[in-house]
Each structure stands twice: as C-alpha cells, then as structure tokens.
Amino acid sequence: AETGDKADDELVIGMSFQELNNVYFVTMQRALQEAVNEMGASLVFTDARHDIAKQINDVEDMLQRGVDILLLNPTDSVGIQSAVMSAHDAGVPVVAVDAQAEGPIDGFVGSKNFDAGYKACHYMGEQLGGEGKVAILDGIPVIPILERVEGCQKALGEFESIEVVDKQNGHQERSTAMNVTENMLQAHPDLAGIFSVNDVGSLGALVAIQSSGMDVKLASVDGNPEAVKVLAQPNSPLIAIAAQHPATMVVQALELAVKKYRGEESPSEVPIDVTLVTADNAKEFTW
C-alpha cells in the first residue's frame, strides 16, 4: 500500500469481524473502539456471522465507504483472499487479526491456536494422572478451531493411557453444548475429561457436568471472564483455560496497521502467546 498522510483524527478505521455474538469478539471490538477513540479517529465495523460471502461483501462496502485502514478477522483464511485483494487494490493497508488471511496482507496479529489446544489439553492430561477417557467438544469448522483440536489431540497423544473416545459438535453455542455434553456423559459414564474448543462451549458443558454429579475435568480455550470466574471457584470441574488476549491483539493490530499506513517500518507478523489459566492464577487473569 502507498503511504497515507491523513492525521490520526481524520482516519477512518474499518474492521470486519467473523462474529459479534461472542464475548471474545465483543471484547475485541470494545478495545478497538477505545483505542480508536484515543486516536480521535472513527471506527466502522461489521459482523459476518461466519458467512465468508457476507464478509467479503462487508469489506467491499467498507472500502466503498472510504476506510483508510482495514482490520480483518476472517471467518475463512483462504476465502477472504478476494477481499484482501480489493483492499490492496484500493491502497488500504490490511492487517489480519485472530485468524490468518491469504493474499497481499500487510500484517497478521493472532494467537497460537495450535498451542492453545496443546497447552490446555496437556495440563488436563497431567491433572488426570496421564490416564482416562477424554472427549472433545468441537465447534464450527473453521481453521482456528480445527487447529485447537489438532493441538489438543497432539498433547493427549503424548499420554499413553489417555484415550480420546468421543468428539461431538456443540456449535459453540451454550445450550447445544450442554445437550451434547449430557449425551456424551451418558454414553461414557467413565469419562474423565472434556476439552472444549472455546469458552462458550465450556460454559454449556459445565452445566451438564455439574448437574450429572460426575467427576469430569474440563479444559478450554479463550479466557471468557465468566469462565475464568468459574475456574477460580474451589473444586470447579473447569481446570484450565488457554487464554487468548483479544484486547492486546486488536490494539497491536491497529498499531501495526497505522504504521503500515504511514509507511513506517514494522513487523509483518505478531504472534500472541496464549496464557494457561489455572486455579493458581485465575484470580489475577482478566481480558
């Protein structure tokens, strides 16, 4: 992209979210709004609802509206390519946030999703004493989620006596996750642990576990405040969350994008580490 010359408070920042029905992304959006306010710039944002076709339309419309900087939280890394190209052609710097985007992007800021799955499940494996049956509560088939599952499976594979006995889809929606977990518990009365791909799912699973009275350990990804609060309670089934940092992530992405806009030197990729939150550090953790 060419370098831009507008002052901070003249800038229009656009961000396209994959969804906004999830505290994780809402937190991101609010942090961004704050940062943008501080700059005195203005923000427009859209919600793709996990529909890549809609997301591309949203981006096109934002470009039409004349955004100077585009932050992209793609619902699909490959499918977003044509939107990235449109932005590139329009001379708007593009930074991908949370999930990678193909095409001529100017930067990527995101969590290490594979690590997240790995860390959460490795901790759970240890807590289970390296043995027992474990189930996975899957989510929407998008790359970050699939990577978490892969990371988890790798971690669990390192324990010889741990067996992954079931994998069901909770659609990252609380009541579905609850129902599916109830059924998994029914099918495997000797289940020892569950890995949920995100905290919306884990909060649903939690209801099922608690009302079943079974002793099942739960590990998850995200760092949703409600989940962290549960984690901090004594004897909580939820024992580990590989927490992401949505606010940090988006603010860094904005900084990176503004630098690109000004033509300043900047890294093109900023991986954000995930933090493993357990009972020990839950009290201190916040987004």
């Binding site: 809402v26 609380r174 998994m184």
Partner: protein, 327 residues
C-alpha cells in the same frame, strides 16, 4: 325431514367408526409408529439409551423445541408459519435475565419476559391478520428484528449473575419430575384442551382448512389469527424461560435454527403444512423423535458431520412411512 320414506331409509350414517379404525385414522398414528421404530433402533444400538436417567435427559433436551413447537403448531394448523420463534425465545430469555440482574424479583422478571414474547407474537399476528401480509415473510422479518433487539439489549454479552432461586424452572424437580419436562407437559395439556374442546381450537383448523369459507361463515378470522401468533410468541417465551433458567444466563444468540427444528417436529407429527390438519400430540411425538435422534446419535458416538446426514435420512424415512397423510 319427515318425508314419507325417511323411516325406510336405513342410513348408514349411524355407524360409528370402530376403535381400531379410529386409531389407524388418528393423525398421531403414523408419527407414533415412526417414533417407536426409531426408539427401538436406538435402544438396540446403545446400551445406555434405555437407562431412566438417559430417558429423562432426552425428554428434558427435547422440551425446549417441544414447547416452541406448540406455538408453531397453532400457526401451521391455520396455514401459517412462525419463523421468529428462535430469536423471540432468546430475546424473552435475555430480558428476564437482564431484569433479574438489574435486581427485579424473579417472578416479575419472568412475567415481563412472557409478556414481551406475547407482544412480539401479537405484532406478528397483527401483520398477518390485519395487514394481510404473508406469515412467512412477516416472521422472517421479525426474526431479524428480534435477534437484533436481543443483541442490542445485551451488547452481545450473555447476562449472568441470576438469583439462585431462578434455577428452579430449568433444574428443579417437582414430585420427582424435572421442571422443564413438567412445564412441557403442562403446555401440551393446555394446548390439547384448547384445540379439541374449545371453539377457538375448531376455528384454528377451520382457518387452515379454508380461510375464506371460515370468514364468510361469520368467524372473526383476524382476531383468531392474532391470537394464534400471540400464543406462538408466548410458547417461545416459555421456552426462553426454561433455557435461561437451565443455563442460568441470558443468551442473546440462543435458538438459532430452532424454527426449523420446530417445523420439523410439527410436520413429523403428521400436520399438513398447508394447514387444516394436524394434532398437537403428534407434534409432541415429533419433537421427542427429534430429541431421541440427537441423543441416540450422540450416544452412538457418530461423528458430528455424519450425524447431519443420519438425522436427515431418518427424518426422510419417518415421513416416508407416514406419507400420503401429509402430502
């Protein structure tokens, strides 16, 4: 008419249908056959399926859709449809949660939530009945509106921190029966009585059977349509009560796709989608059929992707068995 020959007229009309024939012609017969068939298959395929604990699970999981499907039945019996049920459920539930979180007493909050569902339903009904707009498009539009309002109200955050007593509706037990199941049974009981023992019930079917004829006969069709959609809003709100209490949090995006499950329950229950024919107990059977499908496939550990395929196939088969009655 006392015509000269009327006595010599051995009118066969006096004959009543036999009990067996009545059962066979009952609209609940084929849904029940389908249900039992799937039930047996699931019981054979899973050791855990028949455990009392699991059967309670199934009933409780199915309760939400089953409750929503009551309102959907009313709408479909009149020849209409209500696509807004999912978001109305979510909206009512979040409002209840929001009011309680703001310190309102649970009873008041619950009543407000139920009222809100009814108001929303009544708005649908007014558009359909008085503005004479097609139900499918009205409720498609209000579906978006309800979803948007729910999200605006909560800002996308679920609402938690509800008073402990509120968990009664989703997790409580009365005389050994879980409250969600009890609520479901109660809703069906009321719906059954209304549909089969009141004039309003008769009008519901009449409107679905031939709206123009019903109107010309002197029935206030718009009034009853308004009522039908209000009922649908109410049952959606009741489902919202149960789900909010069960999760102990108000979820603005709960209920996505529930309208399709509810429609499936009604049609699996033997109702004609064009209206005029159907049975509320059939809907209950249909909803429970969906619930044992979800539960059974989960229990079998069928991979999630394959579950979609299996569920679709079984629904097709179930309808195929009972077809002709629904065509």
């Amino acid at each position: 008419m006392s015509t000269p020959t009327s006595d010599a007229n051995p009118q066969p009309r006096r004959q009543r249908r036999s009990r067996a024939s009545r059962l066979l012609h009952s609209p609940v017969f084929f849904p029940l056959v389908g249900f039992i068939a799937v039930f047996i298959v699931m019981a054979l395929a899973n050791d855990n399926f028949l455990l009392p604990n699991n059967l309670t699970n199934v009933a409780r999981q199915g309760a939400i859709i089953a409750i929503i499907a009551v309102g959907m039945s009313f709408a479909i019996f009149t020849g209409g449809i209500d696509l807004s049920v999912g978001p109305v459920m979510a909206l009512s539930g979040t409002i209840m949660a929001g009011l309680m979180a703001a310190g309102w007493p649970p009873t008041v909050a619950v009543i407000m939530g139920l009222l809100l569902g009814m108001v929303f339903g009544a708005f649908n009904g007014a558009c359909v009945a008085f503005a004479r707009m097609p139900p499918i498009i009205v409720t498609l539009a209000t579906m978006g509106i309800a979803r948007g309002l729910g999200l605006i109200y909560t800002g996308g955050y679920p609402i938690s921190g509800l008073p402990a007593g509120f968990s009664f509706f989703g997790r409580g037990e009365v005389v050994g029966i879980q409250v969600p199941i009890l609520i479901m049974l109660l809703v069906y009981l009321v719906a059954y009585v209304v549909l089969h023992h009141t004039s309003f019930g008769r009008y519901v079917y009449a409107i679905g059977g031939n709206e123009e004829a019903t109107r010309l006969t002197g029935i206030r069709v718009p009034r009853y349509k308004l009522l039908v959609y209000t009922i649908s809003g109410l049952t959606a709100a009741i489902a919202g009560l149960v789900i909010t209490s069960r999760l102990m949090s108000g979820q603005p995006n709960a209920g996505t796709g529930f309208e399709l499950d509810a429609i499936a329950a009604v049609v699996l229950g033997g109702a004609a989608i064009a209206g005029g024919r159907g049975a509320i107990l059939g809907t209950l059977v249909g909803a429970m059929l969906l619930a044992i499908l979800n539960n059974g496939l989960n229990l079998m550990g069928v991979s999630p992707y394959l579950q979609d395929v299996a569920k679709g196939t079984i629904i097709l088969l179930a309808i195929y068995i009972g077809r002709g009655r629904n065509a």
